[in-house]
Amino acid sequence: MKNFKLFIIAFLSSYLLWNIALLFLPRYPLIYTQNQKQIPQIKINLTRIFLNSQASIIPKKSYTLKNITLKGVYISDKKKFIIISSNKKTHFINLNETFRGYKLIKITPTTAYFKKGDLIYKVSFKKIKLPPPTPLYEIPKTTIKTYEKNFAKIWQDIGIIKAKDGYKITFIKKNSIFDKIGLKRGDILLSINNIPLNSDANAWKTYNTLKNQRHLTLKIKRNSQIKVIEYEIY
């Protein structure tokens, strides 16, 4: 009987202890919901509209100055100047300054205009040969929604495994969307919209943001060469 009393006292003392602890413990749960809404942010620089409102000189006909190459242009509210190279020498010319009899009358982000007598001369940046345009594929939004509803279908149409620097495509079902959007077996997916696919966490993060995207840039490694593929979601 004495032992039973001891047992009950010990048993109830733990009840007392937990009641004291309860004073410091939270009583209500926290409920989390997935927040996926992304508010698009558009930056409009209104000051530029007002500052560029002054009337500009538009030359009707202009000639190109030979042996002079435009290297740089600096345009700010207070100062405007250009950097040119002539006979392997570099010159800095401020707006309204004269260089070899040519007066610099106007500077645009790509061209500088000079005046000599009644004639207008211009110097522009050298045209750079652009690399061939990256392929652009269109993906209907309904396709993404179908995969969203039936997640398992993704793994029926494409197989991927983790590789060193991304995810390697092990198979692609013929005529599936993955086949139509330019992916091939053996490709290594490196990044989507500049988010590197170097961990499951990043890959998952990217997958969850896909539904809200209208444009995707996929970087892949194919036959040891890096390729960029652009996608439009409509």
Binding site: L6, A10, F11, Y15, W18, L25, P26, L30, Y32, Q34
Partner: protein, 156 residues
Amino acid sequence: MKRIAIIIVGFLIGFIVFMPKKEIFFLLQRVLPQQNIQITSTPSQNPIKLTLFNTKIFYSNIKTASIKEINIYPLLLINIIKAKNIKLDIGNIQIKTLNAYFTLYPKTFIKGDGNIGEFEGWISLKEAKIYIKNPSFQIKPLLKRDKKGYFYYEKF
């Protein structure tokens, strides 16, 4: 000596029975966000276990796993977690049942089965690795290998 044993046993039984399991879970809910992990669940308790229904685990606000039912038995010397219907949104992994045993031994033993086949292994919390004994061919590509065996490692 007998009396001391009775007191300890009485206290331990009371400690398990009267443990405010739900409130401890609420405290855990408030501590985990520091590690970027959030848990949402409907808890219910009885004297020996805490049951969490429809648990959703978020990592960085992204749902990464959902578990239909988790039973936690905080039996002090051996703590048991039994989970049913785990769906990992990464890699389309579905686990029917998962049992984990925490003892005073530093390893946490796990056993389960799902669409990746039956698996057995242990978790090394120190190394943040999950070791799987004789992994099935479905999960072998996801695992790395070291002297101790095949393991899964993800540094978040």
